[in-house]
């Protein structure tokens, strides 16, 4: 080896190649370490399609992060099992009843305010009411779906579901597993008794609805209505409006006693390592442009007051303070505390 060249050219080349290889192989890992990941839950179906195709990629681009969106139920049991200081999700998207289950175990925050999420300042009061933990980003109205070709009068009251002509052709839910069924039960208490919490009146009214066809999911109720197997059934407005323009003989009626709220709630887990990003995501989901895209995609009523929808959506969805005032929000904390007893009782009533 020449003293003028203590390091040979071959050694330099070899070292350079090694460094280049290390940089090439190591780069993705370093990049990955710098990119924050937001772990969320979200729905499937059309909602999931829009989220994956448009909403989430735009959020990732805006915030330089990746979003890991879990669509596989059940979310709350998974969250219960995961460590609280390193939760499986940063943002939990569920209906309101499950958020109440989660908050009792300290799995999600009590409230989300405009301080953390600025767009909360623009939501309708129901979205952050005392019946909500977290913030509701959309709602649907639970009412009655019916066939328009079976010669029945469009329902005006919840009591119309008990019409003897609908025996065997009315539809409801397996109450222990479906929050629409649980809402319906509470509404029976209000319509036939002293209020949403009058369970005795609700049980008696439920008995009168037999024979009734019961399903697990709202998707099944939609298909039962479409196939004509059910003439009138409990369903949320989105589950009927989504067939708008498809020449299907189904429509939705909001009973005079009011419609129950089926809120889409977002909440942050207290142990999240990316809490700021989680709040940013909720703020993004409440942004008028994102709200409009999703509302018109899946027929959900937006929570943000500033959202302007196309005329056909505006006409049917809850987009004014007057329409929003027809929403009745159940007290899920009260319901969940009695759920086991209620489940046992309704199963006894409806078995067979």
């Amino acid at each position: 080896m020449s003293p003028r060249h203590p390091v040979s050219r071959r050694a330099v080349l070899r070292s350079g190649t090694g460094l280049a290889a290390f940089a090439t192989l190591g780069a993705p890992a370093i990049l990955h370490a710098q990119t924050k990941t937001l772990k969320i839950t979200t729905w499937g179906g059309k909602w999931g399609d829009i989220m994956k195709a448009t909403v989430l990629p735009a959020f990732e681009k805006e915030h330089g992060c990746t979003v890991s969106a879990d669509q596989a139920f059940p979310y709350v049991p998974k969250l219960q099992v995961s460590p609280k200081n390193d939760p499986l999700y940063d943002v939990l998207h569920t209906n309101s009843n499950e958020q109440w289950l989660a908050v009792v175990d300290g799995l999600v925050m009590d409230k989300i305010t405009a301080k953390e999420v600025p767009n909360v300042a623009d939501v309708y009061p129901y979205a952050v009411s005392d019946k909500i933990v977290g913030v509701s980003i959309f709602t649907s109205a639970i009412g009655l779906g019916y066939r328009t070709d079976k010669g029945i009068t469009p329902p005006k009251s919840w009591k119309d579901l008990a019409d003897p002509k609908l025996a065997g052709a009315r539809g409801g839910y397996l109450i222990p597993v479906n929050s629409l069924g649980q809402c319906h039960l509470m509404m029976l208490g209000k319509v036939y008794g002293k209020g949403l919490q009058d369970l005795d009146a609700a049980y008696k009214a439920l008995e009168q609805l037999k024979p009734i066809k019961l399903v697990d999911f709202t998707g099944q109720m939609e298909k039962m209505l479409l196939s004509g197997e059910v003439t009138e059934g409990v369903i949320h407005d989105s589950g009927v409006y989504r067939y708008d323009g498809q020449n299907q003989p189904v429509d939705f009626a909001s009973p005079a006693e009011g419609v129950m709220a089926l809120e889409q709630v977002l909440n942050v887990t207290p142990g999240s390592k990316v809490k700021e990003l989680a709040f940013a995501y909720i703020d993004y989901m409440l942004r008028p442009d994102v709200q409009k895209l999703l509302a018109e995609g899946v027929w959900y009523s937006p929570a943000n007051k500033k959202v302007k929808l196309e005329a056909k959506y505006d006409a049917k969805l809850l987009t004014t303070p007057e329409k929003v005032a027809t929403l009745i929000q159940p007290d899920w904390k009260w319901y969940n505390a009695r759920k086991d007893d209620i489940d046992a009782r309704v199963t006894k009533i409806l078995k067979g």
């Binding site: 499937g44 179906g45 139920f73 998707g219 196939s227």
Partner: protein, 271 residues
């Protein structure tokens, strides 16, 4: 010329036996027939009689990225589980049948125990275990979970063969000069192969259709086909579900037929 009819007398017992078998066959196959009708019916809901025939739902199934990704993942996992459960289950069976191990009955019950627990609890326990160990939900964790459920099938079928095994054949090979490894690979293995592969078929199908264990262990964009179908059904209950079910059934059938061609089903149907 008179014709003598050689008619067998009516046997009510045999008729009842055949009738019962026919009923059982209808009971087993009727759901598949309903799925088949639903998959080919153009209406986006179950209706009978069908209003026409369409392949639209199959198109939708094969064109939906989530379905395809989950189908290949399920097949890949099931293939891994097949291999792992054959190796682990086969080795366990040999050890239990030949090893003269203390507490053999207990060990057999221990290895069979995954079949006795509700699978949803196994899934939940593994999920919690993985999280506590800080390993998250890796794909190999899902494969191991499926293997845990599948091994008892291989164990049971292989043990059945081993307990009916005539060991004098091995002894003859040894007397004729074969080394222990040669005896194993050229005598023992071919003879227990039907039992091992019968268990392997079960292992593949159990993994491919596995839902309760997978439910807690799948990750976003890494869901298996049964989990994707369950989630899809909550929002869109249309014919794509039936088409997916038909494809699953046909794939399972293809695996069984392939194994039949390779090793012969007849060899182990008597197990």
């Amino acid at each position: 010329m008179s014709v003598v009819l050689n008619r067998r007398p009516f046997d009510p017992g045999k008729a009842a036996y055949l009738g019962l078998n026919l009923l059982l066959l209808v009971f087993l196959l009727a759901p598949i027939a309903i799925i088949f009708v639903f998959a080919l019916n153009p209406t986006p809901y179950i209706s009978f009689p069908p209003v026409g025939i369409t392949l639209h739902w199959f198109d939708k199934f094969f064109e939906t990225g989530d379905f395809m990704r989950s189908l290949w993942l399920s097949l890949w996992i099931a293939a891994c589980v097949l291999v792992l459960s054959i190796v682990i289950g086969g080795a366990c069976a040999l050890a239990l049948a030949r090893g003269d191990l203390p507490g053999r009955t207990f060990l057999t019950a221990f290895f069979m125990s995954p079949l006795m627990l509700p699978a949803i609890l196994t899934g939940l326990a593994l999920f919690q275990g993985y999280l506590l160990a800080g390993i998250g939900r890796p794909i190999w964790g899902l494969i191991m979970a499926h293997t845990l459920i599948a091994v008892p099938y291989v164990l049971r079928t292989t043990l059945a063969v081993l307990y009916n095994f005539d060991r004098r054949i091995e002894e003859a090979a040894s007397v004729l000069g074969a080394s222990p490894s040669r005896v194993f690979f050229e005598v023992t293995l071919p003879l227990i192969q039907p039992g091992v592969f019968a268990g392997g078929v079960f292992a593949f199908i159990v993994s491919f259709d596995q839902f309760p264990v997978s439910l807690f262990l799948v990750v976003p964009k890494g869901e298996t086909l049964p989990v994707v179908l369950f989630n899809y059904m909550k929002f869109d209950l249309d014919g794509a579900i039936a088409a997916a079910s038909m494809v699953s059934i046909l794939l399972a059938l293809a695996v069984v037929l392939t194994l039949e061609r390779l090793i012969g089903l007849k060899a182990y149907v008597k197990l």
